[in-house]
Amino acid sequence: MERRFSMNDFEESLKEHADDFKMIPSKRVWHGIYNDLHPGRRWPSVAMSFLLIFTLVVVGHLNTHTGSQVHNISKDYFSSQNKNLKARALSSNNRSNISNADDFKNASNTTLSQQIIADKLKSESSSSNSNTTNTNHSYIAANTSPKNAQTFNKTVLESANNVNTISQQDNKVKSQQINIKPTTVESNDYYAELNLQTNISNYNNLKIDYPQKDIDLNNVYTIKPDIQVYKSENILSADKSSSSSSVTDRKVLPNKPQSAQTKNVAKLHHKKNAKISWVFYAAPNVNSVTFSGQPIKPITNLGSPAVAINQKENRIIYNSSLGFEAGTQFNYEISKKLSFTLGLQVTYSGYKIISNQVHPTLSTLMLKDSKTGVIYAKNYLTHYGDGTGLSAVPLRNYSLQASLPLGLQYELFGNKKLQFNAAANFAPSLILKSNAYLLSSDGSNYINDPSLLRKWNMSSNFGLFMTFRSNKLKWQIGPNVRYQWLSTYKPDYTIKEHLIDYGLRIGISK
């Protein structure tokens, strides 16, 4: 570059004045530079984000598959109950039902899932036909028109009639033992939207068992589904008065032993679900901090009066600050009063240091290598004094953590409506974002060095809360204390800082 040394007064003055001009950049600039130069430090937060997303997906998956669990339990139960079913021959009377069923099928406006069932049954039907057998299927539709529903009503009643026939014919084919795997189609309130003036509309639970293809059909002409309509006795009796159909046909419908078993299965499942619950909670906090450990004093000539003046008492002046924690928790009931808890929690906590603006000062931190024990010094340029000056500046030390609390919850006392609980957990946590000003070794200045902050920490929550039910929701409210076990700083910095949060936890669950 070609430098000009022959400037006139104006240009020279301009240059000198412009060169004198300085501005203090905001912290954002250094953070931007730091993040750009050290991108590897972002990986823990990226990994934590993936973990969070994965957890949410798993939670969503578990919540949306509760219905299918009922189906599977019923299926397993019935397959164990029906391991050795007898083949049932179908009388010629049954063949007429095929047309009824097909008519019903064609007229039905089925939903997608029911269409799949229908297709499956259709394939079974064709398979059965290839073996010169006829299968009688009933097709169920939720959005059936009244006309079709009447047809279906007829079909069900006729099918029920066929059950009688089959049961009579069972004796005839008793010698031909075959295995049948029934497919259970469970439907709740199929007819709730139909507004039908039919007798079937009173039935809340309709269960139809379909035999599948792995039946040895050598000597069986026709296979028919075993239709069982479960209903209470009083409904049946009410139907008797209003029904124009044959009541005598229906007396075969209830299968009391199986109905009871189904209820037991549902109860078992309900009990299983009752052990698991999800709680979403949030807690505004007041953050505090404790310090321990001794700073390493710089090696100085003690005879020098200037040094003696600089050797201040290491005291951090700070104010408590507000923070928060929020998260979700999975509770598993181990016993009546004790539950295991596992969750995902985000915590923001910090405090304000009272500092004062000073001219840029070179300040020293004496550090101790945690592995070798060697003491070494780091120098920093800082603008912040120990808070004893006039131009006070608040410095915020904070951390944003994501943690996986693992703990126990115990019901102290209470009744069904109101309970008092105690809870404690232990949470490994990842520091997503943090900032801390460290007191220099001579106690005169605050220094900002993100490289001395831990990326992982351990903390615990201790809380007492009461649980009460309001409408469909369960509420939890009570005091909560969080203590950070490890120091905010790496072991190289000999002063230990432990954050303590005092909060009021508010939780909600179904």
């Binding site: 412009a18 730091y34 050290h38 780091k378």
Partner: protein, 188 residues
């Protein structure tokens, strides 16, 4: 410190940044529209400094080397945003009314810088590069992709406009042949 920066040690980088950033932000501020833009320019400039520090061979002052990178970064950002080329036109610049009443009357260095910042982008860029950064008109023409004569004429007009503002704010005193900055005890 330089060795630490070469080893990509964060603490060493922060020391270097802390030492030079106040002055470099002042440089950026003269080129930028506002403080935020200046900080963005400086951030980009320091990232270049740390990524290219292995090219510094110790010949000359480190500050001069950093300053040159920062200035080039500022120019590149102005070019990229087309802020420079849009307002480098002399006719356009002449029509701009300078509201010198907006100049804050605080420290003189700050006053001078704020006066420079009042100039149109094209003017102040040439003025910054020629009068303060010490580039020649030939170099400025090369950096800004303009004619050397354009650089000269822009500088003359920028200087004239700045003098006018400084006189009105009584930062400069007449006669113009011996213009001097009034700066209290430190009269230049």
């Amino acid at each position: 410190m330089i060795q630490g920066c070469l080893d990509n040690v964060a603490a060493a980088q922060e020391v270097l940044y802390s030492r030079f950033s106040p002055r470099m932000l002042g440089v950026c501020y003269r080129f930028a529209r506002n403080r935020e833009d200046a900080e963005d320019m400086m951030q980009e400039g320091f990232i270049k400094v740390f990524s290219q520090i292995h090219q510094f061979r110790g010949q000359g002052a480190l500050e001069g080397w950093i300053r040159r990178i920062i200035v080039h970064t500022c120019i590149n950002i102005l070019k990229k945003n087309k802020k420079f080329s849009d307002s480098v036109d002399l006719f356009h610049a002449n029509s701009i009314y300078l509201n010198e009443n907006n100049i804050p009357s605080i420290l003189q260095a700050k006053q001078v810088v704020e006066c420079i910042r009042l100039l149109p982008v094209g003017y102040k860029t040439v003025l910054n590069l020629y009068a303060i950064e010490g580039y020649s008109h030939k170099e400025i023409a090369s950096i800004l992709d303009i004619e050397e004569s354009t650089s000269r004429s822009q500088y003359t007009r920028a200087k004239s406009m700045l003098e006018e503002v400084l006189l009105k704010k009584k930062i400069l005193q007449k006669p113009r042949e011996k213009m001097r900055m009034i700066s209290g005890n430190t009269l230049l």
